[in-house]
Symmetry: C2
Subunit: 397 residues, 2 copies
């Protein structure tokens, strides 16, 4: 059959047109400030969500073992860096809703951080124990900081890594009982300051929101280790000697997360270990000011930004409950039952929403923290951590 | 002349192809977290900048009179709301680098704010005196709050407007000597709480970064007015009776901006009025702790996020100078000469850069605040205020 030349040409041009249309099928333009990722732990996926309409936008798979996974964000808010338990470091593109690149950089890892200038990613590794530094744009490895201690032949598990001002990362060495401050001003030549004998078995750490204090929790003894980053030559001092499991340890169902600490109005509120209490600590002298009885053993205690309240979740068997504490009166003002196995809570940056994950109900529930009304419920596959992109603009996450 | 049908069809399809290409010529996908706007005051324009590569991306014109202009950002970081002196409220699209929409909503205005949930824009007006509320998406007017006082026939100029948690806006009435708290939970029915006799002629105000305290500066007498938003029924109290021009007023070349106040480590540092000093105030009791001598009459005192320093600029004739104060030692550690008529300074959210505008040198200079090195210099037409999109994630801007 013979076709007219016009139709042949038309077919070619139509094909070109179709190719161009596919090529320019960019996702809709949008800002990145209201995006976030929810970890779907068992499935090795993250769910992309947005907080303006409170909806799920996409699911991104292929991230490996996401038990205890955490996420930090690029300085432009476009990329999330997912730290997996299996040593995987994955860069997720929030605008294209896809895995951008991924490296498996260790055998066993526990979180990471992004440098103050956004150019470096640090990962804290259990096996081999140490910190590895990567280029945030390419995930190219830049430096390796082995957590060698004692006679130098052993390596400690690294925990509680946090970014600090001045291109520094601060972290703790579990077996060594040390806190290290690594200055990455020259990314290929880390300058490490070691603080020794800081206490037995530091198991987690945090930096206060003002970027000034690094605090490590101790598993092997009572108390916490405090380093003033404004005055590091003063060394690490022990605070809150009564904080811990005590001389006759209580059964602890889950060691609380230090990273959730709330600080407001000159006081920090933090989960007691093994006790059904939240501790109030005055931050001028770091001494205990009060204890607030709560429903169970607290896991996270998180302050509402711009508010006078903190939200608390609990260890098993009380992990179907969330309580809200009024900080000035030091009293519980609300008890909620969001669902089974509440693992995490995340406020929007200005505090008008709080997102709560219920693992065993496969749900993320969004509350209005002023009225306690449920304003959205999103299906997710065994959700654990919730990480909003506004973390890009805070120190110490 | 006769053409073959094939060529006629080809021409049509080529035209279609070209139209499609133009239609899909979207700007490159990018995150919005590292964007910002610099006010080019005299020209009625803003310059779009980005802080990752530290470059200017575009200039957006048609914004009217931008003397004393300020900018807030949408919760997704895509739009900047520019408050002009001529009552113009302009919504600028940072991704498309264009004016999205604009209303002239009053004869004379002085700043505005965005509600906690990002849905409402409030503008503070001199003429007619009051606050007007707009839908952040459409700029449709939603509510009008006339600043009527006395017998109700006079209207005061509104100054020092700031967003507060709970969908509230707080602002001061200059001629009335009042502070009003407007609750916009129902956007068309503002609920206003009036605090009277707060002091003579409040001229500016701020909310502390924790969202708790609103503080108004007084032009007509010494001292400041403080409202604890956690405990508003306690009313407004006067603090820092020595803060002001004094009994025999000094010549004041420029009233300092309260909005620049730095708060760090339990202390606020603020510009003295008319004196070549920066005041240190302890925030637990709001009493004066120290005075730090500086180069000139301070205008802005701005804390480095995550740092131990504050940057200070000065009124004419010392406005070619910026000084850096170390807060723990309360001493000046650096004096810089960025250019002529330094009007504003803005830190990136995590404190690794500071942007400084030099109006009379038509330049914006970017410093590394750790080394004080100049790391970029951008041409701008008589730049004044610098506003980064990370302001979207903070309370009280």
């Amino acid at each position: 059959m013979k076709r007219a030349p016009a139709w042949r040409l038309a077919a070619v041009l139509a094909a070109v047109l179709a190719a161009v249309l596919v090529g320019c099928a960019q996702p809709e333009l949008r800002g990145t400030g209201d995006l976030g990722l929810v970890v779907e732990r068992a499935a090795g996926r993250v769910k992309l969500i947005e907080t303006s309409g409170r909806t799920a936008l996409a699911t991104i798979a292929g991230l490996g073992d996401l038990s205890h996974a955490s996420i930090v964000y690029s300085r432009d808010g476009r990329y999330g860096y997912v730290f997996g338990r299996d040593g995987g470091l994955s860069r997720v593109d929030l605008l294209l809703a896809r895995l951008d690149r991924r490296v498996v950089q260790a055998g066993n890892a526990i979180g990471g951080a992004i440098s103050q200038d956004g150019r470096l990613i640090a990962v804290a590794n259990y096996e081999p124990g140490g910190v590895r530094i990567f280029d945030a744009a390419t995930l190219e490895p830049l430096a390796d900081i082995p957590a060698a201690f004692g006679d130098g032949t052993r390596r400690a598990k690294v925990v509680g890594i946090a970014d600090a001002p001045g291109q520094r990362f601060v972290f703790s060495l579990f077996e060594a009982g040390e806190i290290w401050v690594a200055d990455l001003s020259d990314p290929r030549r880390p300058q490490v300051t070691r603080h020794r004998d800081i206490g037995k078995q530091p198991y987690d750490g945090l930096i206060t929101p003002d970027g000034r204090h690094y605090i490590a929790g101790l598993f092997g003894e009572d108390g916490l280790a405090l380093l003033d980053l404004w005055n590091p030559q003063a060394g690490v001092r022990r605070i809150l000697g009564g904080y811990g499991r005590g001389e006759e340890p209580l059964p602890v169902y889950k060691m609380p997360h230090l990273r959730g600490w709330a600080i407001a109005g000159g006081h920090a509120v933090l989960p007691a270990i093994g006790r059904k209490e939240v501790l109030v600590v005055e931050t001028a002298g770091w001494s205990e000011a009060a204890r607030i009885p709560v429903h169970g053993q607290p896991v996270f205690v998180i302050a509402q930004p711009g508010g006078r309240r903190a939200w608390v979740n609990f260890a098993f068997p009380d992990n179907d409950t969330v309580q809200v504490i009024d900080l000035p009166s030091r009293s519980v003002v609300k008890t909620l039952k969001p669902g089974r196995a509440v693992l995490h809570m995340e406020f929007t940056a200005r505090g008008e929403q709080v997102w709560v994950s219920s693992r065993d109900d496969d749900s993320v529930i969004v509350y209005d923290p002023a009225s306690f009304a449920e304003i959205a419920r999103i299906r997710a596959d065994k959700p654990s951590g919730i990480f909003l992109s506004s973390r890009a603009f805070a120190t110490g996450f």
